[in-house]
Point group: C2
Chain length 296, copies 2
């Protein structure tokens, strides 16, 4: 990891706090300055030793920083980038943790203007059931994947600095185009969240909702776990990644119609074949995640 | 629990084996005779002390039994009931563990004829990741719900005998009509299984399936866990509960179309409201399951 003398963290919650802890653990000489809209979060972050000083504004936090980590909800990233744009040092690098990337890149280009080459968009695939700075842990990113989505004009040394930080935090870093990122996550993350919210929404709206929930068991609990996620966050992700998500939703609708047709006409062999292929694909995936986890 | 001198278990797997263990633990005087299409399962069940003797056929197993527990895949229940019908003692009670009930009741009425009043249809809501008699444990049903779906002509004493056994196994017993059972489980179990199989099926069919799975994380793993279930079993459930499942699928499609519409026109407030209601309903349900678990 390249030495980070001063790290600015804008948005001192689970992700921002955990990143700060991981960097401080990798290099005890790093000073962390934090900013958050919520003064109590800043206070707690100082009490917990996660940040060294609190800044009044994002631009104040960014002023002395070698690296600015923007860990706010995805629709607030643009505002933060506009705030810090004028106060960034010549060599300062900026990165983020937003769950969608094409729209963030578009906004960053507008907001940062000639500093856009120092912006390295990122998305750590990590989380916990609980949020907020009190839940931050330095090992949050150990073994997690982090996706960086630089543009052709992004400075190679900026990419290396951000990649080095994530690797020091124990993450496995991948690099893809922003649009590719958004298509991938529409399929494996945004769509499942939408499907889970919709199922709970449908059942909760029924007159016999209490009976239905009363007989729901472990399978339903696991299937709908992601419907326990933050409504603000998932509203924003759905709207920011709208086109890719709608495309996935329509593809899924077509696939579901195939299953429906097989059930309606009672085609057991074809139905079993599709289910068997799905189970096999999932089993291979689970096996591969175990292999990559054990090779770390 | 009413004394069961001889318990016959037809289908000595996870469910049948665990039921036998639970009953033997409640009354060490019970003799268990088992039958299975797979002779190795019978051998293991004897080695493990789960059954006392192995029968050559379901009708042989049933001949001396006070209670016959039919724990075979749902589409094989009819065949077993026809086999045992002539060898049942006058007071013998028969119950099953099938995941759908209306079709089982229809078949039982045809197969058992004048013995139908001694048949108490049942559905234990329990399972483990692993199956087979080697995974059987006497505590499998502790705290689990068991749904009984008797008909108007079912003998009250037969219902009480089966209820007593399940309660001795630690289960909480509910009683509903077979059609109500099937509607409830179409919504909270069969539909989610279908949705999970369809999502994995859709992703596995893509040219970039490896990339997609490569970035899938914990949310995807939980959401699709039930797509790791037995394809034969879920094919049968989908076909046996076809009408209720198709109805649920269509209701779900309508709900999903509402979400789609909100995303397409960028209606953040309405989208967030639906997600927030869903999250709240799920949180209340989770809280209620914790309360009922801790009150046992």
């Amino acid at each position: 990891m390249r030495r980070i003398k001063t790290l600015a963290v804008v948005g001192v919650g689970l992700i921002g706090g955990s990143f700060a802890q991981a960097i401080k653990r990798a290099d005890a000489g790093t000073t962390v300055v934090g900013h958050d809209r919520d003064p109590r979060a800043l206070e707690r972050a100082i009490e917990l030793g996660i940040i060294d000083t609190a800044a009044e504004s994002a631009s104040d936090a960014a002023r002395q920083a070698d690296l600015v980590f923007v860990a706010v909800p995805v629709r607030q990233i643009g505002g933060v980038l506009r705030d810090i744009s004028a106060s960034l040092g010549a060599e300062a690098v900026v990165t983020d943790a937003g769950s969608t990337k094409a729209e963030v890149v578009r906004i960053a280009r507008d907001s940062l203007k000639d500093r856009f080459a120092r912006f390295v968009p990122g998305h750590p695939i990590a989380g916990r059931e609980s949020s907020g700075v009190d839940s931050a842990i330095p090992d949050l990113f150990r073994g997690a994947r982090v996706v960086l989505t630089p543009s052709p004009e992004t400075a190679p040394d900026a990419i290396e600095i951000v990649r080095g930080c994530w690797e020091a935090a124990g993450a496995r870093v991948a690099q893809v185009a922003p649009e590719t990122h958004d298509q991938i996550f529409a399929a494996v993350s945004h769509l499942p969240h939408l499907l889970a919210f919709a199922l709970v929404s449908e059942i909760a709206a029924r007159d016999n909702a209490q009976d239905l929930f009363g007989f729901a068991a472990g399978g339903f609990r696991d299937f709908t776990r992601i419907a326990g996620s933050s409504p603000e966050m998932w509203r924003d992700i759905a709207l920011q990644n709208r086109d890719a998500l709608l495309w996935e939703l329509d593809q899924y609708g077509t696939r579901l119609a195939v299953f429906r047709e097989l059930i309606e006409r009672g085609d057991g062999p074809a139905l079993e074949r599709l289910m068997r292929e799905a189970r096999g694909a999932r089993a291979s995936w689970i096996a591969s995640t175990r292999r990559s986890a054990s090779s770390e």
